[in-house]
Amino acid sequence: MAVSRVVVVRSPRAWTAAGAPDPAGVAAMLGRGFVRLTGRADPAAAVASLFSPADRVGIKVNAIGGKALSTGPEVALTVAAWLLQGGVPGANIVVWDRTSRELRDAGYAVGEGKYGIRVLGTDDPDQGYGPDLVAHLGVGSLFSRILTGECTASISLALLKDHGLAGLTAGMKNYFGAVHNPNKYHDGGCDPHVAEVFDAPPVKSRHRLTVLDALTVQYHKGPSFHARWAAKYGGFVLGLDPVAVDSVGWSIVEGLRAEAGLPSLEAEGRAPRYLATAARMGLGTADPAAIERVEETVT
């Protein structure tokens, strides 16, 4: 399996007639994505090749945008379902983000649900941020106890969005939601902060898989939701190389911008420079020529 393989899976069945994410279509896309990513015969085997039953897996979502633009429960819990199929016990799975309020606003039922799968905000009274300051490169942060105390493995289940400051918010920047002071990392186009937060031991030692929720892609004026510039892309982007996945995500955003007649992020002076920084730090591959991009359509 190529480390820098990135799977882009899309489906005309991504949406219901009412315009909501179609659970069956989402499940099919993710299942197919896992298969193409790992080369295994079926999704359960694919997931089992990535996570063991002993793993305690955190699914870090991005719930900041309410129902309009968050990694919703129909996606996160489908990822969790595939983990179950792959042998990870439900009690070992936690879907999480910064606050319970944001999770609720995004449509989650916070707490313990079916099969023991938990949905938690870091502000849960039993969680919070760890007491020990993590000082790593330019990072000085407290990290969520959910990540450091509840998880041995992490999935960044991020939205794919334009970002006014960073250019792009995707799998790596999703971990800004794991620190107590993300506002301190938004200067300089979030560079090198995105790479440095990802490189910090609490994240780097646990991160195992990136899944970009590209059902709806905010390709301009992000990270807030603006219907005018939100494309129903109907897909997911999966990979084990966090830099490569985000680089492919960037190309998708640029493609949508071009289709809409918008200037590129580079032309707007907002190219996500942190990707090149991350590549230089050895976190992955940013060069599109060195990324094996697999396109898949689930019918």
Binding site: L77, L84, T99, R101, R104, G140, K184, H186, P223
Partner: protein, 373 residues
């Protein structure tokens, strides 16, 4: 019942996923309880198209989309309107000697009701209060203390002033300004302890409301500010110039950090600048660094370095130069520049003797700049 157990019982029914997968999607949750944050519209910002705003409070000029917070972490764009989340949300409240701020030429021997909210618009690697300055307001305990209540509490405690301190008061500008107004009505003065990263317009507004400003000049090179403060030097110098020209009393602190900002040629340059731009009578405090936050690898500042910095500044013509964070050091005293007498003798924050008569040296009559009554 632990909250988790309660929530376990609250989890709902699911949606059918098909493809043989278990059904996991729970019902939508009820609305979240309100967080303990204020929602008072911020001042000094402009609304932009597409629900964006640009903050004009500090030189960062954060441009933010809906649901985003500024670098300070305490101001948020909600639907295209910018709000302060910390109006009246006080996370630290103490009665301190005014010397602790430090103000050495402002009502010596008095106390200041000292308060802070969460947040800061820089990120100094040597911050001694990072637990509150670098936190978001919802992450730390706070009490509700409206401006009038703060003023009343200061008066009741016998404090002639309120100090906005500990974190960075600029980020709670609205609360500070309104509290200063409420305090003035009660005859209580206001003093600000700031890093000086504030835009000219809000600074001008503030200087009409407060009586003294202590600026932390954290270094004298842009490189130092960029690397260790996450800010810029020039806005701080602009603030010092502006305060010096205002009716508010000004003092300056320079925290001397071994190997980072302790070169004497830069100290000399800084002292000359203070002399020329703020005036030779402005008190300058060289404070001792202690290892903390992200600079735990450095030792405390040698006292000899502080003393050398003091000698250097005095040689450049500054009249009142102090050594700080070294309790009992002789350079804590205020000396008369005319005859050398200790017109205010201090030990730490304690005033041992005051030998001033209507702001002049009792011995030789030289005027000592400051606010003495």
């Amino acid at each position: 019942m632990r909250r988790r157990a309660f929530l376990r019982g609250a989890a709902g029914t699911g949606l059918a996923l098909g493809a043989g997968l278990p059904s996991l999607c729970a019902r939508l949750a009820a609305a979240a309880p309100a967080a303990r944050l204020s929602r008072v519209e911020a001042r000094h910002y402009v609304k932009l198209p597409d629900r964006e705003i640009e903050c004009r409070l500090c030189p960062r000029h954060c441009r933010l989309g809906d649901k985003e917070r500024g670098y300070c972490g305490v101001r948020e764009n909600i639907g295209g309107t910018y709000y302060t989340l910390v109006y009246g949300r006080v996370c630290s409240l103490n009665v301190d000697p005014i010397e602790k701020k430090p103000f050495f030429h402002f009502l010596p021997g008095t106390t200041a009701l000292s308060l802070a909210t969460a947040g800061c618009n820089v990120n100094c690697k040597f911050c001694q209060n990072w637990e509150i300055s670098q936190a978001r307001p919802e992450q730390i305990e706070s009490i509700d203390l409206p401006p009038a209540a703060a003023a009343a509490r200061a008066a009741a405690a016998g404090c002639p002033s309120i100090a906005y301190t500990y974190s960075e008061p600029t980020v709670f500008f609205e609360y500070m300004a309104d509290t200063a107004i409420a305090a003035r009505r009660r005859g209580v003065r206001s003093v600000v302890v700031t890093g000086g990263h504030i835009d000219p317009e809000p600074l001008a507004e503030l200087l009409e409301l407060v009586d003294a400003v202590k600026v932390d000049l954290k270094g004298f090179t842009q490189d130092f500010y960029a690397s260790f403060v996450r800010g810029d030097l020039e806005p701080v110098l602009r603030t010092i110039r502006t305060v010096a020209k205002s009716k508010a009393w000004l003092e300056i602190v320079y925290l001397v950090i071994p190997t980072l900002n302790d070169r004497m040629d830069k100290v000399r340059e800084m002292a000359r600048w203070v002399r020329d731009e703020a005036g030779p009578g402005v008190p300058l405090h060289f404070s001792r660094f202690q290892p903390m936050y992200l600079l735990r690898n450095l030792p405390p500042t040698p006292v000899s370095t502080l003393e050398e910095a003091r000698r250097t500044a005095l040689a450049e013509g500054l009249k009142h130069v102090y050594v700080g964070n070294v309790p009992g050091h002789e350079a804590e005293d205020t000396l008369c520049p005319g005859c050398g007498a200790a017109v205010i003798a201090r030990t730490g924050y304690r005033i041992d003797a005051v030998r001033l008569k209507k702001g002049t040296c009792e011995r030789c009559g030289t005027a000592i700049p400051g606010v003495w009554t």
